[in-house]
Amino acid sequence: MSKMMTVDVLSSIKGAKESETVSKLFDVIKNANTSNNNSFNINHKNAVSLDDLREDVVVDSPQIEKDIIKENFPKQKNGFLVVSKVIEE
């Protein structure tokens, strides 16, 4: 995987190009002064303590939930949910 992936491939959006407006925002970041303490994540203390993890159990969904999930599926044929053909590259 040494080839460079372009933003349209990374984003799965046909013909996508980098935006000039957004580049202006990024330039501000490039030119900003950062602190040297390398203290990434001091702000993001959202990790959960091991004692506080939720139980690792399988919860069965109610029937109405399952029905709506099926209803949302874009394509169905003869009772099967249909996805696009997957190709090998």
Binding site: D8, V22, F26, I29
Partner: protein, 466 residues
């Protein structure tokens, strides 16, 4: 205290009005959709619930404070069985299979959902024009934007179509439309209310919050929705805020404001003058006011958008039309992904996804994304330092008054920069309330993390001061 919820509750209990008539009246108003605030009406369910409330009252049973109170929901929240479109083509026929925790708590308290409300698609915007349902019109002047991204919610509250609405705030999306439409809007401390069931935009700043016409109503709804939730492990347990606690602001002795927000060329002259006049009135009440140093607006906006775009690129990668959404078939799976996404996402959403993937890709992530995270840490440290000196930070909500419909879409950079005063508090994950006082687009009151009560206290104090 002034409260629409208390007032309606009393009218219901005293049998001055019936819940069915109340809900019908609001639904009639919403049906006209004069301000493009409505994505879908929940009329059948709402009327069914209203009849149950009326039956309870007729039987002499007691009803809870929120029971029978009609409210609106930004169309990014899962409510089982309802269309949840995020105002996008991709999800225009998507139905929620489950209900968001915050909304479920309101339903459990008996509040009646009337409407899924128009907003910027996936929260991507500051004007509620980036939507397939038509630009939301401002409640005060329909030629202006309703603000965003929770524009439909703020306008519905301002026009009394809903008693309160639930918005979502990632970088200002509750506070700015509240300011543009002269109502109250709270972004609570990050993690106070569960995000389970809100469509993720930028997960590290996404917040659920109420929009209402009084501080008391904000307090009531905030209390009901708050609390730890195993389904969102960033949530924390918080204390209920009492009505009495909000009435006394004696403990607030020092207030600060960011000098560079006010002393620059980007701020409207009237907004600046009104803000400074408000500061003088606060000083006259014996409160010390300190000028504080803060990051430049362009640094705040760039840091926020860099991180938010990276997070939204990741969050929205699941939207490929495979399991749900408006799939458009291509020659193979990858082709199907890219056609579906190209044709169904708006220009603004695509701009943010592409920007996000750009900063997360090799060669850019050190230079931009990691540097953005470092800046965010510095911003948070700055807040921690400030809140050792002051109890409250006061700021305008926006540098300018609402733009005309159509103007923001032409100039995305101007739209990003219009978020200059709101995004910093999002990055800091701080509780911030917009009040419809002080300047044409209101004032923001911010306190230290987990101090939402202090924000409400100061809001109540300002109600009588300015």
């Amino acid at each position: 205290m002034e409260s629409q919820i208390h007032k309606i509750h009393q009218q219901l209990v005293n049998k001055e009005i019936s819940c069915t008539a109340l809900v019908q009246e609001k639904l009639e108003l919403l049906k006209q959709n004069t301000h493009n605030t409505v994505n879908s009406l929940l009329d059948t369910k709402a009327l069914e619930l209203a009849q149950k409330v009326d039956a309870k009252i007729a039987n002499g049973e007691e009803i809870g404070l929120l029971e029978g109170i009609p409210f609106g929901i930004k169309d990014v929240y899962m409510v089982q069985g309802t269309y949840t479109t995020a105002s996008s083509d991709l999800l225009k026929k998507y139905k929620s299979s489950y209900t968001a925790t915050a909304i479920q708590k309101l339903l459990d308290a008996g509040a009646i959902p009337l409407v899924k409300e128009n907003c910027d698609s996936f929260g991507h915007g500051s004007s509620s024009e980036n939507t397939i349902f038509g630009a939301v019109k401002n409640a005060v002047n329909p030629n202006l934007v309703g603000g965003g991204s929770s524009g439909g919610s703020a306008v519905n509250v301002a026009k009394d179509y809903t008693v309160f609405s639930i918005g979502g705030d990632t970088g200002g999306s509750i506070r700015q439309p509240a300011g543009y439409n002269n109502v109250y809007g709270l972004k609570p401390t990050y993690g106070r209310i569960s995000r389970y069931g809100i469509m993720a935009y930028a997960s590290s700043t996404d917040c659920v919050g109420p929009i209402a016409k009084s501080i008391e109503d904000i307090r009531i709804v905030l209390n009901v929705m708050s609390g730890k939730d195993v389904k969102d492990q960033t949530t924390y347990a918080s204390e209920t805020i009492s009505e009495e606690a909000v009435l006394n602001a004696d403990e607030i002795k020092t207030v600060g404001y960011f000098k560079n927000f006010i002393e620059n060329d980007a701020i409207d002259a009237q907004v600046k003058a009104d803000f400074l006049a408000s500061i003088e009135k606060i000083k006259a009440k014996g409160i010390e006011v300190k000028e504080l140093d803060f990051f430049e607006s362009d640094t705040l906006v760039s840091t926020y958008y860099t991180l938010a775009m990276a997070e939204t690129a990741s969050n929205l990668s699941r939207l490929d039309g495979t399991n749900y959404g408006n799939r458009i078939e291509g020659d193979n799976l990858k082709d199907t992904y890219s056609i579906t996404r190209s044709d169904n996402f708006s220009e603004e959403t695509k701009r943010r996804i592409v920007g996000g993937n750009q900063v997360l890709s090799q060669g850019f992530s050190d230079e931009i994304y990691l540097k953005g995270l470092n800046l965010r840490d510095q911003i948070s440290e700055n807040f921690e330092k400030d809140f050792k000196e002051v109890a409250i930070i006061l700021s305008p909500v926006t540098p300018q008054t609402p733009p005309k419909i159509g103007d923001s879409l032409k100039d995305p950079l101007a739209m990003y920069l219009s978020d200059a005063y709101t995004v910093g508090f999002s990055l800091g994950q701080l509780p911030t309330l917009t009040i419809p006082k002080g300047t044409e687009t209101g004032l923001q009151i911010t306190a230290a993390k987990n101090n939402d009560e202090l924000v409400l206290k100061f809001a109540n104090f300002l109600k009588d001061t300015i």
